[in-house]
């Protein structure tokens, strides 16, 4: 077994994951945000590992 095989498995796994995801929740290009967040005038809204508490405190009453 070579690193080529494990690398191929990683790539295949990734494509399967994205493929299933596209099938279940297809992206909608008509809902895409402006090209760049900086200067867009919109609040940052992406998920981020450091912002768990901030995010919940604004979405779950009482937290």
């Amino acid at each position: 077994m070579t690193r080529g095989l494990t690398s191929t498995i990683a790539l295949a796994g990734l494509f399967i994951l994205v493929g299933i995801d596209i099938w279940v929740t297809p992206p909608n290009p008509y809902q895409s945000p402006p090209l760049v967040a900086f200067g867009s005038g919109f609040s940052a809204s992406g998920g981020f590992c450091g912002n768990l508490l901030n995010e919940i405190s604004t979405t779950v009453p009482g937290q």
């Binding site: 077994m1 070579t2 095989l5 992206p27 290009p29 998920g47 590992c49 979405t59």
Partner: protein, 365 residues
Amino acid sequence: MMRMVLFRIALILTALILVVLVSLFSGVRFGIMLLAGFGFGVVLEGLRFGFAGPWRAMILHREPAGILAQLLAIGLVACVAIPMLAAHPTELSGAQAPIGWAMIGGAFVFGAAMQIILGCGSGTLVNAGSGNPVSLVALPFFALGSFAGAYHIFWWTDLGTLPIITLKGGTGLVATLIGLIVTAGIFFMLGKKGSRGLPRRYIIAAILIAVLAICNLLVAGQPWGVVYGLGLWAAKGAVMLGFDISSSIFWAASSSVGRLNSSVLTDYTSLTNIGMVIGAVGVSVWRNRDLSQPVPSYPLRTWFAVIVAGLALGYASRLAFGCNVGAFFSGISTGSLHGWVWFIAAFMGAFLGIRIRFFVGLEPS
């Protein structure tokens, strides 16, 4: 020779086609994020720039070059990110999180686990892409751990958490840069004579990583991260298999439900994660020699340790509010004090992890 050139051109075209497809079907911003992910993967794998390896080199051999390069990259990002965050507080958000007992414990465990498999958040993705079987096995468990860590996050934060402390504006930038210089000075002095200089590839890598991280912040509105995307993948899988997530405050929150119902091709950390794996595959294929190397064989107890370390990486990084990328790199470079505490705790954990790595047979003692 000509065949190799054509092959490499085909590789680049394939990557660009993927970016165009994501731009067309998700939006141009998401296409740019995938491109940034490719960049991270190419730089990390192509220039052998990482986090776990340099920490190990410092601890075992007193070679500080890798850590000095990390601090250089963080400083470069801080010079742009901290003033930008102060000037545009709504459009841009930093990696700011509170210091707490669970955060410190999580960083310690993460530091240990990343030395066991010799791969951190970004390293596990890049190593999996370049054909490392240990990272390939650890990766899905990393994602599961990240999902579970977020599931239980409030139980852990209830153990005690300070308010978020952020170094802001000009004063915050100066304080951050002084902190980085002092830290670099300590590692420089502790380093072995003759191994203190920064190799050119590290300087180039630090500059390129900094440029990509700044692009990440400006385009996505948030810093470079890894763990959130992995947890989201596992959460999506859990929901698809019928797992009830309504009892989790985090996963049942409207923002999480919104992301679970959206494509991973619209999630910034997922896109850079995907890009990193593909970028690392691309570099390995480009080199045309790495992928023909045989993979080492390990005993069963080693694979068990890899699985446990993968779970620990994911779970602990959630309690620590990020991994080496989201907490250490992005935390410090966007002025969050938790990034500094994360670094100290994780570095202490690394001493333990190095010992465990020998013990479980991932390395001959």
